[in-house]
């Protein structure tokens, strides 16, 4: 399962990277607008393909008719309440027709969000900026046995402290500072097995992998930026505490997820007619 997820992640990250590459030059906000437009259009198109469009149109028409009837017969209480029942019934039918497509849509949406998190969840370190490298071990005993967990870095990354061990959370952490721009590999080792972790310093909207995780399919799916760590390693995960990417609108920072949801829904609704999709 893990290898399937790994291949899936590699292919998807490559494809998303291809689409995203020309957009990243637009900067955080406008690239988010462009991605939201693409995402919104894609979701509407998928919705059109997986839903019963005829039934949705029929239900919507019927709902419109019932709403019109409500205005016409507002003075006749018996008919008025009867129409209310009809509206409720048709609304439930509308929800039934939408529910399954919505559930299907959740899958591509989640995949898209995971990919977006890779690009908008955090930003690369600036030159001179420090961060924490946190290594989580599978077994707390590895910290106490005298077996040394070590961290090695290229010259462009400066390791400023010895590893600080926290037994209760089975982790060792180091403070690392970016000395020059580029993509580098840190190497964590217990003396027998070594695991690398990619670190990005500088650059414009580079996708950054905040965590390299173990082979569990769910964590692998959530952190697609790097191949999962093999189960033979005593290391469960390596995390880099990158700073959050700041996307500002009129001087106010807005979380990328909120921006994406608002813009993609807006674009999807605005362009549904162009795609001939009934929502």
């Amino acid at each position: 399962m893990a290898s399937v997820v790994s291949i899936f992640n590699t292919v998807l990250t490559f494809l998303f990277g291809l689409v995203y590459w020309p957009l990243k030059w637009l900067g955080p906000f406008w690239s988010m607008v462009a991605v939201s437009w693409l995402g919104g259009m894609l979701m509407v198109w998928i919705f059109g393909k997986v839903s019963d469009q005829v039934a949705i149109e029929r239900t919507r028409n019927r709902l419109s008719a019932e709403l019109l009837a409500l205005r016409l017969f507002k003075d006749d209480l018996r008919i008025f309440f009867s129409i209310q029942n009809q509206i409720l019934a048709w609304t439930l039918k509308y929800l039934r027709h939408s529910l399954v497509p919505m559930l299907i849509l959740m899958v591509p949406t989640m995949i898209l969000l995971i990919q977006l998190n890779l690009h908008y969840g955090a930003r690369p370190l600036r030159v001179g900026e420090q961060t924490l490298v946190k290594v989580k071990l599978r077994d707390a005993a590895a910290l106490g046995k005298g077996s040394e967990i070590t961290l090695k870095a290229p010259e462009s990354l400066k390791i400023e402290t010895q590893g600080v061990r926290v037994e209760e959370s089975k982790e060792v952490s180091w403070r690392v500072r970016g000395a020059s721009p580029g993509r580098f590999d840190l190497t964590v080792s217990d003396g027998k097995v070594s695991v690398t972790k990619n670190v990005v310093v500088g650059g414009r909207l580079e996708g950054v992998s905040t965590m390299r995780t173990g082979e569990h399919w769910l964590t692998s799916l959530l952190y697609p930026g790097e191949a999962p760590i093999g189960s033979e390693s005593p290391i469960e995960s390596i995390e880099i505490r990158y700073p959050e990417l700041d996307i500002s609108i009129l001087g106010t920072s807005v979380n990328w997820l909120i921006l994406f949801l608002v813009f993609s829904l807006g674009f999807g609704y605005a362009f549904k007619g162009v795609l001939g999709v009934k929502i």
Binding site: Q130, V164, S173, R175, R241
Partner: protein, 696 residues
């Protein structure tokens, strides 16, 4: 040049111009150009003035004698060059020569009688409690209380207590734009075209002028209370320390006070009194003795510090209502010691410039913009934590390191402002020299009672001067040839050898009567004073007040002849005061604001201002209303240099690339000179005169 009359007539027009300008910061639109043209036709804007640039580098506490000494030693080449290019004079400061007072005079052109700032603190005549003279918080609307929850019907605020119009507001009225970086006593910043960041006077997140936190597992080694900070007990268990950071009072929660609950239990009171709890943020420290370092977890942030290391700025979020309302702040952590004692210092938590809960800049989002360009920075009152040094929480070297951190921040800001210098006027403030002279004097002065031999810090003050010289060099490189450059300070410095307990002296002279003389040096400030038999008291560093009927709640002296006679008596007695230990006269000047000052605020401050002789200064206890046993004491605290004395003894500096026409220029003169640089006629309430020779 505009005449004063026409200036008032056109103020409304220029205000409209400011509004237009404020909404279009970067590029002048066609409409604004047309407006400027119209205003010029009607005389509101002097376009020749608009082309002029002036920069003022404000260096708090730079002393003319020390400056001349270091220049003569060849340590300050840039100052020397500027002096050669233009001029250098001592700059007469204000009485009292305290920073809030002096900077207020510089920015308004009025003495304390005009701007109303007489000290760092003023006295509430009803409660006799001191409060910040610079700004006051306004409470929110009456709350709606539901159980332990409380919902204010309107938000609170804060307002500045200084009176008068600043020179950059006057610039704005003439279509000029200014950048004012950390001007003291400008909180909240006044509205004027351009940009401003508030400086001295900005509270920390808890609303004080700076309260540090110190966490130790050896609480018993420290006094129960220390001024300017809180010391908290923590324990180290399994290499883990848990603690709390304390924020402002949570106005959305209320709990009965312990006292009212106890009274109720004893059946001595029916109604409960409520108080707002402080907002808190938990933190955890994981110690790794082998690594000689610790990992900190503060909210969702994690960072590592080695022993004796300062952290970068740490964002601290306090939740008032979970997930709905929070207050953003920032602090720096210093891991003083891991073992055998655990000791952690945290700076006063600052108003976060990235998300300010109070207005610290104008326009409001400028602090956020600066934050995005420069990273987080100190925002509160005075960054250098002299109180922590005074109480031994920070050593001299640690204090020095903190001073350099603050200085580096200012330096980066100066570089940024010089690079983006697109306004007509630029003011940049440095406070490093002032704090350095306060806290490092006893390292360079062998006569000081608190002299300490330290081969590095004996040269500390000189090093600070050199650093500022480097900054001046950067400024001179960056500004244009036609820019008028002024380097000035608000006051100079003197040694602080001996403390004077003025309240104790008043007690000994019979002006104060205590309810219980056996408890003279204990209890809360003024709590032991028998106000019905007290005629005068001291409050603030230079202030002496008559206990006046109709003003003080327990007033005992009648206005008129009795008041005047008492002032005469006090003035005579103060000037005759002798230090029995050495025969010196501790007081060399007595001023009476009502007699000696001008302006509408001259009867709002102390009745007498006491000017101490060189070497003397008020103690730290007396200004707050305490009565220590001895009148005179040797000062052995690290706070070893000072300037709150006779103003004639501690002038500031004026160095400029222009000729100075007066031998004795004053701070108020400088205000008028700045206005004249742009051809603006000074309003009549300004007391100074132009002291800069017109540029040829």
């Amino acid at each position: 040049m505009m005449q004063p009359g026409s200036e008032r007539n056109t103020r409304a027009k220029t205000n409209r111009l400011q509004s237009a300008e404020q909404s279009h910061h970067s590029q002048p639109s066609l409409a604004s150009l047309l407006l400027i043209l119209c205003c010029w036709l009607f005389g509101a804007v002097d376009l020749s003035a608009a082309n002029k640039k002036v920069m003022v580098l404000g260096i708090d506490g730079m002393d003319p004698k020390l400056l001349q000494t270091f220049v003569d030693q060849g340590r300050m080449p840039n100052f020397k060059a500027l002096m050669a290019e233009g001029d250098f004079r001592p700059l007469q400061t204000t009485m009292p020569p305290q920073s809030p007072v002096a900077w207020s005079t510089f920015m308004t052109g009025m003495d304390p009688g005009g701007h109303g700032i007489y000290d760092f603190i003023h006295v509430d005549y009803d409660t006799m409690a001191p409060y910040s003279s610079m700004a006051k918080a306004d409470p929110g609307g009456k709350p709606v209380n539901i159980g332990s929850w409380s919902f204010p019907t309107s938000g609170g605020g804060v307002h500045m207590l200084r009176k008068g119009t600043t020179f950059w507001q006057m610039f704005g009225e003439h279509g000029l734009r200014s950048t004012i970086f950390r001007m003291p006593v400008n909180f909240p910043p006044v509205k004027a075209p351009g940009r401003a960041l508030a400086g001295m006077g900005v509270p920390d997140i808890a609303g004080t002028l700076g309260t540090f936190s110190f966490y130790t597992d050896h609480r018993r080694d420290w006094p129960p209370t220390v001024s300017g900070g809180e010391i908290y007990e923590v324990s180290v268990r399994s290499n883990r320390v848990e603690g709390k950071l304390y924020g402002p009072d949570n106005s959305f929660r209320r709990f009965p006070t312990k006292e009212s609950l106890e009274l109720r239990e004893k059946g001595r009171g029916d109604s409960l009194k409520y108080e707002n709890p402080k907002m808190t943020q938990d933190f955890v420290v994981h110690i790794d003795p082998k690594a000689g370092a610790a990992k900190f977890v503060v909210g969702d942030q994690e960072f590592i510090l080695k022993e004796k290391e300062w952290s970068d700025w740490v964002h601290v979020e306090f939740e008032a209502i979970p997930h709905l309302i929070s207050v953003s702040s920032a602090g720096r952590f210093y891991l003083k010691q891991l073992s055998p004692k655990f000791e952690l210092y945290v700076t006063p938590l600052q108003i976060d410039p990235d998300d300010p809960v109070m207005p610290i800049s104008e326009p409001a989002n400028w602090s956020k913009h600066l934050c995005s360009e420069l990273g987080r920075f100190y925002t509160h009152n005075i960054p250098e934590d002299a109180q922590a040094f005074n109480h031994g929480v920070l050593t001299a070297r640690e204090f020095w390191d903190q001073m350099i951190l603050a200085y580096d921040e200012r330096s980066r800001a100066l570089d940024y402002l010089l690079k983006h210098q697109d306004e007509d006027f630029l003011f940049v403030y440095f406070g490093t020299v002032d704090q350095g002279c306060h806290m490092l004097w006893h390292f360079m002065d062998r006569e000081h009672p608190g002299f300490v031999q330290d081969d590095v810090l004996k040269d500390g003050i000189a090093k600070l001067y050199e650093m500022l010289d480097g900054r001046l060099g950067r400024v001179r490189e960056a500004i244009g040839k036609d820019t008028t450059l002024i380097v000035m300070s608000d006051h100079g410095f003197a040694p602080f050898y001996w403390e004077v307990n003025l309240n104790t002296w008043l007690l000994e002279q019979g002006f104060v009567t205590l309810k219980d003389p056996s408890k003279q040096d204990s209890g809360e400030p003024y709590s032991n004073v028998d106000w019905s038999r007290t005629r005068a008291y001291a409050a603030g560093l230079n202030g002496l007040y008559i206990n006046l009927k109709g003003r003080e709640k327990g007033g005992a002296v009648t206005a008129g002849a009795e008041y005047d006679a008492l002032l005469d008596q006090l003035e005579k007695a103060l000037l005759a005061m002798k230090d029995p230990r050495n025969g010196k006269s501790p007081v060399s000047l007595v001023l009476r604001p009502r007699r000696d000052f001008q302006g509408s605020e001259k009867d709002k401050g102390p009745d007498i201002l006491v000017g101490y002789s060189r070497g003397y200064r008020s103690s730290s206890d007396s200004p707050l209303g305490l009565f220590p046993k001895a009148v005179f004491l040797d000062n052995k605290s690290p706070w070893s240099g000072d300037h709150c004395i006779d103003y004639r003894l501690v002038p500031g500096i004026l160095v400029t690339n222009r000729r100075i026409t007066s031998q004795t220029p004053t701070l108020a003169d400088l205000t008028v000179s700045l206005l004249n640089e742009y051809g603006i006629a000074p309003p009549k309430e300004l007391i100074g005169k132009d002291v800069l020779e017109p540029k040829k």
